[in-house]
Amino acid sequence: MSYSESRSAALAAALGNTLGRPARFLPSVVATAVVLAGVLLGAIAAWRLQPLEAPPWVRPQALVLAAGAEGENDLSATRAAIRAAPSVVSAEFIGRDAALADLAQRPGLGNLGLRELRPNPLPDAFVVTFAPAAGPDVVEAAVAQLRKLNGVDSVAYQPEAYRRTWALATLARRLLAILGAALGAAAVVGLTISATLWVRPDREEVRLLYQLGADPAGIRRPYVYTGVLALLIAGGLAWWLTAIAASGLDPLVADLARQYAVHWTADPLPPWAGPAFCAAAAALGGVAASVAARLAMRGIS
């Protein structure tokens, strides 16, 4: 045993603590890598979901039927009034002729002579989409306001259907929040437990070195280097584990997202993501080790 405050000696000590003791080092680094891989998978999933937006089937919509025999200018005014209603994000116009043509093209309806109907019995209409964050009460109030607008004949809206969807979406959001918090707590606990495996300051030695006048930064340095080295390796291993897991999971999740019309980016991660993750993991290791060493020195001074 020797002691030196030099960086090269601290690095040699760190290499001795890690690569020099593979039987103790490998299990702890693998455990840390597994925890980091879990965190990384969650982060990648969150990135692939960006921009985060509710799928169409979650967005509340209403069909606003315009009063008959409106001129084009009146329809523009009606549309502007609809857009001005609270929580309305879009109002898509569907002309009566276009609606009739669409109906006539549908299988089974084409031979009913819909094209020959004179005059066209369908009204002009607007498909109004409300903000996804708007609750059922807000949407129902907006619908009530739409019904009172000039140029609006009626509004087709199913409040019960949206209330059910809203309740399900709220439940899903809360479950995801609880799941995320639980995973985050598990990650913190896992990292803390694994950190104790690779940074275990010798309190007796730390105390003695402090008493003898060793520079506190010099005392911490071997532990900090050990933490950096261990997490750098664990970060690389976690990246590799994540790549393997993602190659199996990505197609399944992408297919699921497509079926539920959820946005899902399949683009590969940017090339700097791997090195940046490993660097962040190494920095985390350094900070955790420094804290562990400081705790070991606490109460001495």
């Binding site: 045993m1 020797s2 002691y3 030196s4 405050e5 007796e204 030695e205 105390r207 003695l208 070195l209 402090y210 008493q211 003898l212 006048g213 060793a214 520079d215 506190p216 930064a217 001495i300 001074s301």
Partner: protein
């Protein structure tokens, strides 16, 4: 011969001020009875001070405060005019390098060799490996320990008296200006206690300030009262206060 090797590290300008100056020092730990109360003490350079008192009288706390290992709850501790509480951690560490501190029990690492335990002091002070080993050998030799044997033996194998010799060698290895020796004589019988005190006397004569804490509990005290050097000053502590 030992005195000729001593080169106290504090600067000459520091010689004009008391080496140690404690003013109104109080030390409390939570709601317990204070370990030290209103202590005023001045120690000159080269003085030999014996701090006596029963167990829990505040001797060890006093030495830890002098070593800069604790901060007083109230009052100031100055070494060579420097208020320890105002020093940055790195500066306090630097200060401790010129202090030879022997904690109760010696504070040796049982799994390390004798030589490594002693060399740790110069290594911690920034000496090279070779210089640390050289200083450790000199200090061990001074304390009557076979330096050749020291590299092979771990401290855990040593009996109490020899362990204390090794701890003393470590306190001396950095050529300190201030020696703080807590319960130094506890493991020694009368004859060996005298030998150790004779070893320290030349250091004090050469300008090193020596402060020895001595427990006066009948059960723990050495059989014979040690022959303290003639110029030694006795400071008696009881319940954290200087007693008559």
């Amino acid at each position: 011969m030992p005195a000729a090797r001593i080169e106290p590290q504090l600067s000459e300008s520091a010689a004009s001020v008391p080496l140690l100056e404690l003013t109104g020092v109080e030390q409390r730990y939570g709601a317990f009875r204070p370990a030290l109360v209103g202590l005023d003490l001045t120690v000159r350079r080269g003085e030999f001070l014996v701090v006596q008192g029963p167990g829990a009288s505040g001797k060890s706390v006093l030495l830890r405060l002098m070593a800069g290992l604790e901060r007083p709850s109230a009052g100031t501790v100055r070494i060579a005019g420097e208020d320890l509480a105002r020093l940055r951690p790195a500066a306090r560490a630097q200060m401790r390098r010129s202090i030879g501190y022997l904690p109760p029990g010696g504070g040796l690492l049982a799994s390390r060799s004798v030589l490594e335990n002693v060399a740790l002091a110069p290594w911690a002070a920034g000496s090279s490996r070779e210089e640390g080993v050289r200083r450790a050998r000199v200090a061990l030799d001074l304390c009557g320990f076979d330096a050749e044997r020291s590299a092979r033996m771990s401290c855990g194998e040593l009996p109490g008296g020899e362990r204390q010799c090794v701890a003393l060698a470590r306190a001396l290895a950095n050529r300190p200006a201030l020696l703080l020796l807590d319960d130094l004589l506890a493991p020694f019988d009368g004859a060996n206690a005298n030998r150790v005190l004779r070893l320290l006397d030349p250091f004090s004569e050469a300008g090193v300030t020596v402060i020895v804490a001595q427990c006066t509990d009948a059960a723990l005290a050495i059989p014979l009262p040690p022959p303290w050097p003639a110029r030694a000053r006795l400071l008696r502590l009881r319940d954290g206060q200087v007693s008559a």
